[in-house]
């Protein structure tokens, strides 16, 4: 009886002890007697990281935090045990961060090139570098800090909205509402006006198009006229003609002067000469004013030739008059 009691009690105690111990080790994922690599990192602050928290490399569990201790120079040394098969990334850095929203933390070993582009994190890593075999580490802000910042932002927004509320009082709101109503009225009036004057605008645009067409046509004609003028002036004929006319006029005026001196003694010839001179003077005046035949002469080569011929004949007449005045004028003295 005693032996059976001993055996039964011993078996139960052993079984329960082994069961509880085995379950505890299994849940803790402990490796008894297995060699583990040890890595130490240093931080200014380890946040809420605790012994037993998971160590992660590229999202895969690679070990756990073994110890956390204060070190000289204001550092905190965090020792991690890693599975022997795990290879550390090149230029490794340790980040402490929350692994979930429920306060659990983990240590993430990551290459320096994969660090988040956060100024605070980069500064922490830079400060913790140069510790020899001790890896540099940085602590990411936890959800409490983030919510604190969010709360501060919310407070600022509340302040701004409060100020807006103060500035945007009931009077301002009424005026704004009135302005919006006026603008709406104006918009509807404008729309109505545009609708009503759509036909007028169409007519106006058609007339404008016609005018533009006419202008184009006029421009073509002007260009053609300019080409004619250019061709006429380029040969110097007009200038030559004008010079000749001026010279003839001067000679004629001299002759008329001489004739006037002798006017008292001129008879019928004087009347014809006066009429001729009057007509000639009238022609020259018109020419000077760009009127009459000579004006047409500018644009008509045939007229030019006729007038040139007339000038030559007039010159011959004047020369003949000088050479044989008695042929045309009979001067009687007494």
């Amino acid at each position: 009886m005693h032996r059976s009691n001993d055996l039964l009690v011993g078996a139960v105690v052993l079984a329960v002890a082994l069961g509880v111990s085995g379950a505890t080790l299994w849940v803790k994922q402990a490796d008894i007697g297995r060699h583990r690599d040890r890595v130490v990192a240093r931080f200014h602050d380890v946040g809420n990281a605790r012994v037993g928290n998971t160590v992660v490399i590229r999202g895969v569990r690679a070990g756990q935090i073994e110890s956390i201790s204060l070190a000289r120079g204001g550092w905190v040394h965090l020792s991690m045990s890693l599975d022997p098969a795990v290879e550390l990334p090149r230029d490794p850095v340790v980040l402490l961060n929350e692994s979930s929203l429920f306060g659990e933390w983990q240590a993430t070993i990551t290459p320096r090139s994969a660090l988040p582009r956060d100024e605070t994190v980069l500064r922490q890593v830079a400060e913790a570098s140069g510790g020899g075999d001790v890896l540099p580490g940085a602590t990411l802000p936890d959800i409490a800090k983030l919510t604190a910042v969010a709360g501060q932002i919310a407070g600022d927004v509340a302040n701004v909205s409060q100020r807006v509320e103060v500035a945007f009082d009931e009077q301002a709101a009424r005026e704004l509402r009135a302005s919006i109503r006026n603008f709406a009225d104006m918009s509807s009036t404008l729309a109505r006006t545009v609708h009503e004057h759509r036909d007028d605008l169409d007519t106006l645009s058609r007339a404008l198009q016609s005018a533009v067409t006419t202008l184009n046509r006029t421009a073509v004609s002007s260009a053609h006229m300019a080409e004619l003028m250019d061709s006429s002036t380029s040969s110097g004929q007009i200038r030559q003609m004008m010079d000749d006319m001026a010279q003839a006029a001067a000679e004629l005026r001299r002759s008329s002067t001489q004739l006037r001196v002798m006017s008292e003694q001129l008879g019928r010839t004087q009347g014809r000469l006066d009429a001729f001179l009057a007509n000639g003077d009238s022609v020259f005046v018109k020419i000077n004013h760009g009127q009459g035949s000579l004006g047409l002469l500018v644009n008509d080569a045939a007229l030019y030739r006729h007038s040139d011929s007339l000038t030559l004949q007039l010159r011959d007449l004047v020369s003949d008059l000088r050479a044989n005045p008695k042929k045309y004028v009979s001067v009687r003295i007494f």
């Binding site: 001993d6 009690v9 139960v12 105690v13 329960v16 069961g19 509880v20 379950a23 505890t24 659990e104």
Partner: protein
């Protein structure tokens, strides 16, 4: 192995016999004086309870030295109090684990990830429910058993016979029971932890939309070996209290079968109350200290 007259008087219960407090004020005394005497008698009775408990504890500690007396009785008591209590402890644990998993999933719907069922089952079973529920169950089974057994021995004068044979009833009757209860309660509670968490796991996988991997993830998420240690230490303290109270009430039983019944009942009631008080004590004294509050 002789016993002093004072010790014999304490074990026989004559030193603090029931009714001594009630007879504190004799008849014929004016009513106000009787009231004052009644208050004084109650106060003295409360202090006497503390004194009796302290003397009982001291006698038990002193009896620990008589190893040859209590050692032969230890294993039978461990079997009776521990091994034979496993079925009731495991039965409670199975249903506790199942109900806890379902209750957790019901509470977490839409708000908390479902794998936290594993976390809640582990934390609650190991730290609270396994020790307390098993302790309460064993308080009824073990406490009443001890009180009835020792009370019967008391009223049938078997204890007097032991004393006549120069056996110390504390060393022969109390110490093996107290040691067996203190050792075997954690064993039963440890088994209840395993079975309770396992039952919660099976219930979560079988009855909820939760995979085994997710349950284990939640189980490991906030697991700390301290949880198990805390639960087992609490269980040991419960075992100590239940066996001490049962032994004390049994040794002080008087008045035949009725007295034995009263002793058994009071043993269960006091054990249950003390288990809850101790549960709160450990939470304040250990958990708060560990949490740094």
């Amino acid at each position: 192995m002789t016993r002093s007259p004072a010790l014999r008087q304490r074990t026989s219960g004559t030193a603090f016999a029931p009714g001594t407090v009630a007879r504190a004020a004799p008849r014929g005394v004016p009513r106000p004086v009787r009231w004052v005497a009644w208050i004084g008698a109650r106060a003295r009775g409360a202090v006497e309870v503390v004194g009796r408990s302290a003397l009982f504890g001291a006698d038990t500690l002193r009896a620990l030295r008589q190893v040859s007396t209590w050692r032969p009785m230890l294993m039978p008591q461990m079997r009776t109090l521990g091994v034979n209590s496993l079925p009731i402890g495991l039965f409670i644990a199975v249903f506790t684990g199942i109900v806890l998993a379902l209750l957790a999933s019901y509470s977490f719907t839409g708000a908390v990830p479902l794998y936290f069922v594993g976390t809640l089952v582990e934390k609650t079973i190991t730290m609270e429910l396994a020790p307390v529920l098993t302790g309460l169950a064993l308080a009824g089974r073990v406490g009443a058993n001890i009180a009835a057994e020792l009370g019967t021995m008391r009223v049938t004068e078997q204890i007097d016979a032991l004393e006549t044979l120069a056996y110390d009833p504390y060393a022969y009757l109390v110490v093996p029971r107290v040691l067996a209860g203190t050792v075997m309660f954690p064993v039963v509670v440890g088994a209840a932890m395993l079975v309770g968490v396992g039952a919660g796991w099976v219930a979560a996988v079988g009855l909820l939309d939760l995979s085994s991997q997710e349950f284990v993830k939640g189980l490991r998420l906030f697991f700390d070996a301290f949880d198990v240690r805390y639960g087992l230490v609490k269980a040991a303290s419960f075992g100590l209290v239940v066996t001490l109270v049962g032994s004390a009430r049994g040794l002080r039983a008087a008045g035949g079968a009725q007295g034995v019944g009263r002793a058994a009942t009071s043993a269960v009631v006091y054990s249950a109350v003390l288990i809850l008080v101790l549960d709160a004590f450990w939470a304040v004294a250990w958990l708060l200290q560990r949490a740094g509050v």
